[in-house]
C-alpha cells in the first residue's frame, strides 16, 4: 500500500510550499492593510495608477512577472545588485525568490479583500473615536481594524492559496531546485517531464486540490459571516 502514501520528496515539496506561502502572507500583510485601507478611504492623485500597478500580476502572464522581478532584483538588477553586494541577500535560485514571487502574485488578492473590508466599515465610527480622545492610529487599531478583521483574514487565506499555486514567476526567478525552491507546482511539473510521471503526480495533485478547496471554503465562510 506504499502507493497511497506521500514519498519524502513529495513531503518536502509540500512543506516548502506551505513555508513559502506563510512567509509571503506574513510579509505582505502589513503593506496589504495599509494599501487596502488607503484605497478604501483615501482620495489622492495617482490612485488609479497605483490600483493598476497592484492588480497587474492578476492578469499579467506570470512569466512576465518573473521577468520583471529578475530585471529589478536579479543579480545584475538595479535593486538586486546592491542587495547582493552589500547585504548578501539574493533572490535568484533561492528560497527568497520563491517567497518573493508568491508575495507579488498574491498581493492583489489580499489587497482586494482588505479594501472591501475597510470600505464596509462606517468611517464616521472613527470620527466618533477621534472626538473621544483617540488619535488617528489609535482609532484605526481600536475601531476600524477590529471591525474589518474578517475581511483581512479572508484576504490572507486567499493570498495563502494563491501563493501555493504560484508557478510561472517562481520558475523564472527561483528555478526548480529540489528541496530548495521546488514547490508543489514545480514538483508536479518536474514529474510530468519524466516517464511515468503522470501516474505518480496524483498524490501531490490531490493535496494541492484539498489545500485550495479548504482555503476557498474558509474565505467564503469569513465573507459570508461578515457583520454577524
Amino acid at each position: 500500500m506504499q502507493h497511497w502514501f506521500l514519498t519524502p520528496d513529495e513531503w518536502r515539496a509540500i512543506a516548502l510550499s506551505l513555508q513559502a506561502a506563510v512567509f509571503a502572507v506574513a510579509i505582505t500583510l502589513p503593506l496589504g492593510v495599509v494599501v487596502g485601507r488607503l484605497l478604501a478611504r483615501g482620495k489622492f492623485l495617482g490612485k488609479s495608477l497605483i490600483e493598476t500597478a497592484i492588480n497587474l500580476p492578476l492578469v499579467l502572464p506570470p512569466v512576465v512577472t518573473g521577468y520583471l522581478l529578475l530585471v529589478v532584483l536579479g543579480r545584475q538588477g538595479w535593486l538586486g545588485r546592491p542587495l547582493n553586494d552589500w547585504l548578501g541577500v539574493r533572490f535568484v535560485f533561492d528560497f527568497r525568490g520563491v517567497v518573493l514571487a508568491s508575495a507579488v502574485a498574491a498581493f492583489p488578492l489580499m489587497v482586494r479583500a482588505i479594501r472591501l473590508a475597510f470600505a464596509g466599515v462606517d468611517r464616521r465610527l472613527e470620527q466618533a473615536a477621534r472626538t473621544l480622545g483617540a488619535g488617528p492610529v489609535d482609532a484605526f487599531f481600536t475601531v476600524s481594524l477590529p471591525l474589518a478583521w474578517r475581511g483581512v483574514l479572508a484576504g490572507c487565506v486567499l493570498a495563502f492559496a494563491r501563493s501555493l499555486g504560484e508557478f510561472g514567476a517562481t520558475i523564472v526567478i527561483a528555478g526548480n531546485i529540489p528541496n530548495e525552491t521546488q514547490t508543489i507546482p514545480l514538483y508536479i511539473y518536474g514529474l510530468l517531464e519524466s516517464p511515468g510521471g503522470l501516474q505518480q503526480a496524483w498524490r501531490v495533485a490531490t493535496v494541492s486540490i484539498l489545500l485550495a478547496a479548504a482555503a476557498l471554503t474558509v474565505s467564503e465562510y469569513l465573507e459570508r459571516t461578515r457583520g454577524e
Partner: protein, 231 residues
C-alpha cells in the same frame, strides 16, 4: 464662565456655503433651522472633524482652529464631546467598553463611571452590545460615552429626532439633569421648537449657511444668557 467663539467660512463642492459667526457660552445653546442650513456642519467644525476654508474657533483662551495662523487642534485633543445623530456606538464593543473608550483616553477628574451609569440608568445594559439596544438605550449610552470622555463642551446633533414622543420626554429629562449637574456648556442642534424651548437658554438660527441670534422669546425661564450678537 465658558465662551465659545465661532467664525467660519466653508464652501462645499456642490455650491453650499457656510458663512457663520456667533458666540455661545454657559448653559444650552440651540442651533435651529431647516435641514441643510449648516447646523451639523457647525458641530463638525467645532469638533475638528472638518476644517474651514477660513475662520477661527476658540473655546475660552484655547484656539481650536485659526486658519490665518495655521492652527488646527486635532479632534482628539479638543476635549469636545459629541453625541451623533445616529449615535455611532462601536458595534464590536459592549456598552461598558463603549463608555470606557473615551474615559480611558482622557482620564477625566471627578466624572466617575459608576455615577454616570447610575445617572443615565445604564446599569442593566453594561454587558450588552449596541446592536441589541433600543433607540433610547443607544441614546443614553452615546451621551454617557461623551460625558465620560471629560469634555469642556458638549455637542448634541439632533439628540431626540430618532426616538418616539413617549421616550423623548424621558430622554430630554435626562439630558436636562446631566447638563445641569455637570454644568457643561452645550450646543444642541434641533428642528423641533418644543425641544428647543425646553432645553435651550439661547437660540441661534441658521438659514442657508448664515447664523443669527434670536431674541429671547423661546428661551426657558432658567435662562441666564445675555444675548450674544451674532453677525
Amino acid at each position: 464662565m465658558t465662551r465659545l467663539d465661532f467664525s467660519c467660512r466653508l464652501r462645499w463642492s456642490d455650491g453650499f456655503q457656510l458663512d457663520a459667526t456667533f458666540a455661545a457660552g454657559d448653559g444650552v445653546t440651540a442651533l435651529v433651522g431647516p435641514s441643510g442650513s449648516g447646523k451639523t456642519t457647525v458641530l463638525h467644525l467645532i469638533a475638528g472633524l472638518l476644517q474651514p476654508d477660513e475662520g477661527r474657533i476658540a473655546l475660552d483662551d484655547r484656539t481650536l482652529t485659526h486658519t490665518a495662523r495655521r492652527v488646527f487642534v486635532p479632534p482628539h485633543r479638543r476635549r469636545v464631546g459629541m453625541v451623533f445623530q445616529d449615535y455611532l456606538l462601536f458595534p464590536h464593543l459592549s456598552v461598558r467598553e463603549n463608555l470606557r473608550y473615551g474615559q480611558r483616553r482622557r482620564a477625566p477628574q471627578g466624572r466617575e463611571f459608576d455615577h454616570v451609569v447610575e445617572l443615565l440608568e445604564l446599569g442593566e445594559l453594561l454587558g450588552r452590545r449596541p446592536g441589541s439596544l433600543s433607540g433610547g438605550e443607544k441614546q443614553r449610552t452615546a451621551l454617557g460615552r461623551a460625558l465620560l470622555s471629560g469634555p469642556d463642551l458638549l455637542l448634541l446633533d439632533e439628540p431626540v429626532s430618532a426616538v418616539d414622543d413617549r421616550l423623548k420626554d424621558r430622554i430630554l429629562g435626562l439630558f436636562e439633569r446631566v447638563i445641569r449637574e455637570y454644568q457643561l456648556p452645550t450646543l444642541f442642534v434641533s428642528h423641533n421648537p418644543q425641544d428647543v424651548q425646553r432645553l435651550a437658554d439661547r437660540v441661534i438660527a441658521f438659514e442657508a449657511g448664515k447664523a443669527k441670534s434670536l431674541p429671547d422669546a423661546t428661551t426657558s425661564p432658567t435662562s441666564h444668557s445675555k444675548l450674544e450678537s451674532g453677525l
